[in-house]
Amino acid sequence: MASKHLNHIEPYSPQFGTMVPLSGQKFLRTCVLWQIVRFIAINIRMTILILKSHH
């Protein structure tokens, strides 16, 4: 079955040797509700990083 969500990738090109996102992943990247969750997660992560970095 054809993967309609994928553009053609030239076999044996450098691009052929890596992972490419499928439609579900692409959707989540700009899905506002999911991204609000990620926004909170990123901020928590960065806050922890900042707290660990100050001496």
Binding site: Q15, P21, R29, Q35, M46, H55
Partner: protein, 488 residues
Amino acid sequence: MARLVVMGGGVSGHTAATFARDMLDNDHEVVVVTPNSNWNWIPSNIWVGVGGMSKEEVIFPLAPVYEKAGIDYRQAKAVEIHPEGNKDSDTPYIMIEYTDKDKSGEREELTYDYLINATGPKLNFGATPGLGEGTNLGEHTVSVCTADHAEHANHELNACIEKMKAGERQTFLIGTGHGMCTCQGAAFEYIFNIEHTLKEAGVRDKADIVFITNESFLGDFGMGGIHFKMGGFATSSKVFAESLYAERGMDWILGAHVNKVEAGKVTFELLDGTIDEQEFDFAMLIPPFAGVGLEAFAKDGSDITGDLFAPNGFMKVDANYNAGAYENWKASDWPRTLQTPAYKNIFAVGIAFAPPHFISKPMSSPNGTPINPTPPRTGMPSAMMGKAVAQSIVDMINGASEPTHTASMSEMGAACVASAGKGLFSGTAAAMTVYPIIPDFEKYPGTGRDLNGTTGELGLAAHWVKHILHFVFIWKAKLKPGWTLIPE
């Protein structure tokens, strides 16, 4: 009364000066010497370079901010350091040369008790023939290193878009303009913003977009790469970065030292020694950085520049500069207090300090040409160094005998939000955290970093974070209410 002189008013210098002023009693003096009249939030230059922001949105004049803060501001560049004074006086001083229009070219001696070198980089366009002359950008390429450069880049981009709308095909070449560049992150952000902008303009199908880099693999970022926890794997940033380029249909050239730029064409040498060419209609190539060219003199007038500075012009601090080969490198080689060994009242922060060695593994072509990303030390680490050194100096002015605060890149993390396109609902960015910046294979066997603190993801949320940070950091730099509460 003590006088602290800060050379440079960028991220690290401005942070150091403003925190020192905030923490010191008013009978002490803080002086900032910077050739620029404006402060620039450099991360947003990327958006100026694609028309997503105006130049005015990323800069503001320094004079009123420093006047309000009680900081003595000299629009001048430091040219000499005399850490022992001269034959007439033991008081250390720097020689400054004014750059403002009223006193342009005038020189003055400025004495100090404590000195912070936060001069940032010299944009060394002249290192690559055709890329520019000295610190001046040439005519064949564009840059996003300054707000003015970014504005010009947007103008050129728009000209290309018009040609594409008229049916002409265009090749965009973005990346590093020399084998010894750092700041691959800026090129990474710009190429994705170009791609996003072309898509929004409806001309993406008329564009060939190529990334050229001195990294030996995509995602090295001058940090030897990063590993993220992803889908149950410790996944290399190589996979993360390659995936982004592949998804957007962009090609890449790795391990490249651009050795000549001509109208519409670059010539480059690869790590395998081959020489190749790439044509372009639009090119943004990051220049290599060097120290700003400060000279230092002893009391008797003899030149001691080589004692204070590494050959690349960056200032030597409390780092281990004798680590030797890559196999011997340790996280502990990296400086902690940023104090110069010879003069306890001189510190260097941000790009101005000389790293002990690269972070990425040194590589060169069979012809002996070094092709190696140099260590990034901008943004968050830069500001953290500025604050730590300001705190140490304040304590030393108040009686401490040694620096009391440290900011080692081997003990701190960095948060980096790399834009991949601007838009309230269509934008994306890569939010990355890395801890520590310098891999420590003794403490974190395996990848050299704490996998719980080293993360990466692409999405709209990261774009929101980057956009909010634009306003937050400009608020902080303007010293508006609550600025001291905003972390670096």
